[in-house]
Symmetry: C2
Subunit: 324 residues, 2 copies
C-alpha cells in the first residue's frame, strides 16, 4: 500500500468520479473558531466516497477476471459504489444484503445494476457462507469494503484532492478529519497527505460507543466495539479497524475524535443551513468534531470530510426539527 | 450588454465565486426520460447565484465610488450576495429590508457585514424613499437585483460554466432551464450560450400564478403578475421582466415553463434524495420543469440550474414529508 497506488487510482478514476467541491461558510468558521473547509464527498456518485474505492478496485482488475464479475457484502454505501462501478465497466455484480436492510437501499443497489442476494440475519445463515457459495460457483471476485489495497487507493484520491483544494484556499497545514469506519478512507487520505501535504495530518472521527479506532490508536493495539448495532451512524459502524488499515493509521494519523449523537445531528442541520448539502449521520461525524471539539484541534484551519449523504428523509427532517 | 462584459466579469470573479459542480443521477434521468444535468448554484457562496452578480457589480466600480459604499433593496438572496461581495472588497453596504423579513435573513445579511435598514411595509413608507435618502446622504451606489448590466454580466458566468461543464459530459445542444424572477440570470446565461454553446438555448421556469416572463415571451410584450405575494417561491417573484433583461430574453430564449407548487416540492425532495443538495422552492423550479415537463423539451439531455438553497428548515422538512 503506497502513494503510487493512490496516484494510479486517481488516473483510472479521472473523468468517472467527481472532483467534489471544498465548501466553506463564515458562519461555520465562527462556530469552530477557525476556518473550516468541508470536502463534500456526499456529492460523489452514489452519494458517498465509496464510489471511488469501488471504481478503483473494479478498474484495476484484469479484463477476464472482471468479466466474470464481483461480489460485495454491504447494506449501504459500499454496495452502491461497487454496483455502479461494476455496471459502468460492463461487469456483473452480486451484493449480499440482509433481508432487513432498508428497502430504498436494496432498490437503489438493484437499480444501479447489481444482483441483490438477500440473506436472513436471524435464520442462522452466515453471509459469508451465502457469499462464498455464489462466488465459487460463478468465479466472482470479492471486493472488501476497506481491507483491500485497491479500495484504500481509491479512497486515497480524496486525500489528493484535499491537498490541492486546501492549498488553493491557502491552507497547507492542520488536521484533516475523516468519518471513520474500518479505516479505508482515513488510511488512504493519510497516505495521500504524507506525500502531497506533509504538514497536514489525517484524524478519524467516530460516534460515542463505537470508537474502536480512537481506542485502538490510544492503546496501540486493535480494539473491538462492544456492539455493532444501535448507532444512527450506521454507515461507519464496523467491528474493529482493519488489518491492513490499522498499521497505516498507527503510523500516520493523529488522535481520534469521539462525537455524540446530538453533535452529529446538529452538524447535519448546520451543513443543511450553511453549506446546502445533505449529510447522513455517519457522514457528519467529522464536521461535528471540527465544529464542537475545537479544544482538541490546533492551528487556524481544519478540513472535515463529509463522507456521505444517504440518509432517510425522516431522519433528516428530525435533525432539522431538533436543531433548527 | 454583451458577451465581453460576461467574460470580463468571469475574470474578476475567478477565485472568489465558486465554480459550482454539475451534478447528475441515473434516477433523475429515468424520471425525465433523458439525461438531466443540474448546475448546483445553491452551493455558491451565500447559498445562491446572486453572489456572482453582487461581486461583478462591486468589483466593476471605481475604487473611489466603491469606498463610499453600495445600497440594495432585497429581503433575500440579492441582499446576501451584495453584502458578502461588498464586505470582501472593504466597501460598506446598506441593505433596505422590510421589518417583516425573516429574522434569519436579516441576521445573515448583518453577519455578512451589511448595515440593515428596516422599513415598515405597512406604515406608508416607500422603500425607495428610505433608500434614496440614505444613498444621497452617504453617496452610496445602488445595485439593482437584475436590471443592471454588471449584475447580468455576473449571472452570465453561470452560463459560461454550463457551456464548459456540459461539453465535458458530452452535451453540446439542448435546453438550459433557469429559475426566473426579473430575468438577470436567464438573460446572462442566454448571452453566454449564444457565444459559447450556440446549439444550447436558455429557457425560464416560473411558478404557477407568477408566470410574467412566460406570458411576456408568449405575447411579445412585458406582462405583469397579478400579485407579488402568496408563492412559496419567494426568491424569484418580481412584478415583471426587466427593461434591460426582456429584450435579451425575447431575442434569445425559448418558451417559458410554468410549474406547480407540488412539482416544486417534489423536485426539492428528489434533489435531496438523488443529488444530496438543498434547493429552496424558487431554486427548484427549473429542476421541476426538467423532470415533469419533458413533453415540452426536445433532445436527449437537458440542463437545469438549481439557483439557490436558502430555505427554512420547516419548509424543507415539509417537502420531504409530502414527497418522501
Amino acid at each position: 500500500m503506497n502513494i503510487d497506488m493512490i496516484r494510479a487510482a486517481a488516473h483510472r478514476i479521472q473523468g468517472h468520479a467527481r472532483v467534489t467541491p471544498m465548501l466553506t461558510s463564515p458562519f461555520l468558521d465562527e462556530i469552530a473558531g477557525r476556518r473550516v473547509l468541508v470536502k463534500a464527498e456526499c456529492l460523489q456518485h452514489t452519494g458517498s466516497f465509496k464510489f471511488r474505492g469501488g471504481w478503483s478496485a473494479v478498474s484495476a482488475m484484469e479484463e477476464a477476471t472482471r468479466k466474470r464479475g464481483v461480489i460485495a457484502f454491504s447494506s449501504g454505501n459500499h454496495a452502491q459504489g461497487v454496483a455502479a462501478a461494476a455496471t459502468a465497466h460492463g461487469a456483473p455484480s452480486v451484493i449480499i444484503m440482509p433481508t432487513n436492510a432498508p428497502k430504498l437501499k436494496i432498490d437503489n443497489t438493484r437499480a444501479l445494476g447489481a444482483e441483490v442476494v438477500l440473506y436472513d440475519r436471524t435464520g442462522g445463515e452466515s453471509r459469508e457462507e451465502v457469499g462464498d457459495k455464489i462466488a465459487n460457483e460463478r468465479g466472482l471476485t470479492l471486493i472488501r469494503p476497506y481491507d483491500e489495497p485497491q479500495v484504500i487507493a481509491g479512497q486515497g484520491t480524496v486525500g489528493l484532492e484535499i491537498a490541492t483544494q486546501a492549498a488553493e484556499l491557502g491552507v497547507t497545514s492542520g488536521d484533516v478529519i475523516a468519518c471513520c469506519g474500518g479505516g479505508g478512507l482515513t488510511a488512504g487520505i493519510a497516505l495521500a497527505l504524507e506525500a502531497e501535504a506533509p504538514n497536514m495530518r489525517a484524524r478519524p472521527a467516530e460516534p460515542e460507543g463505537f470508537d474502536d479506532t480512537a481506542r485502538s490508536l490510544a492503546t496501540g493495539s486493535i480494539q473491538r466495539n462492544a456492539t455493532e448495532t444501535g448507532s444512527i451512524c450506521d454507515a461507519i459502524i464496523t467491528p474493529q479497524p482493519g488489518d491492513l488499515t490499522f498499521p497505516i493509521l498507527q503510523r500516520l494519523v493523529g488522535p481520534g475524535f469521539v462525537v455524540s449523537e446530538d453533535e452529529v445531528l446538529q452538524a447535519m442541520s448546520l451543513a443543511f443551513k450553511r453549506l446546502k448539502i445533505v449529510a447522513e449521520p455517519g457522514g457528519a461525524c467529522a464536521l461535528a468534531a471540527a465544529l464542537f471539539h475545537g479544544d482538541k484541534i490546533e492551528g487556524d484551519a481544519v478540513v472535515a470530510v463529509c463522507t456521505g449523504g444517504n440518509v432517510d428523509a425522516s431522519v433528516f427532517a428530525d435533525a432539522l426539527k431538533r436543531f433548527p
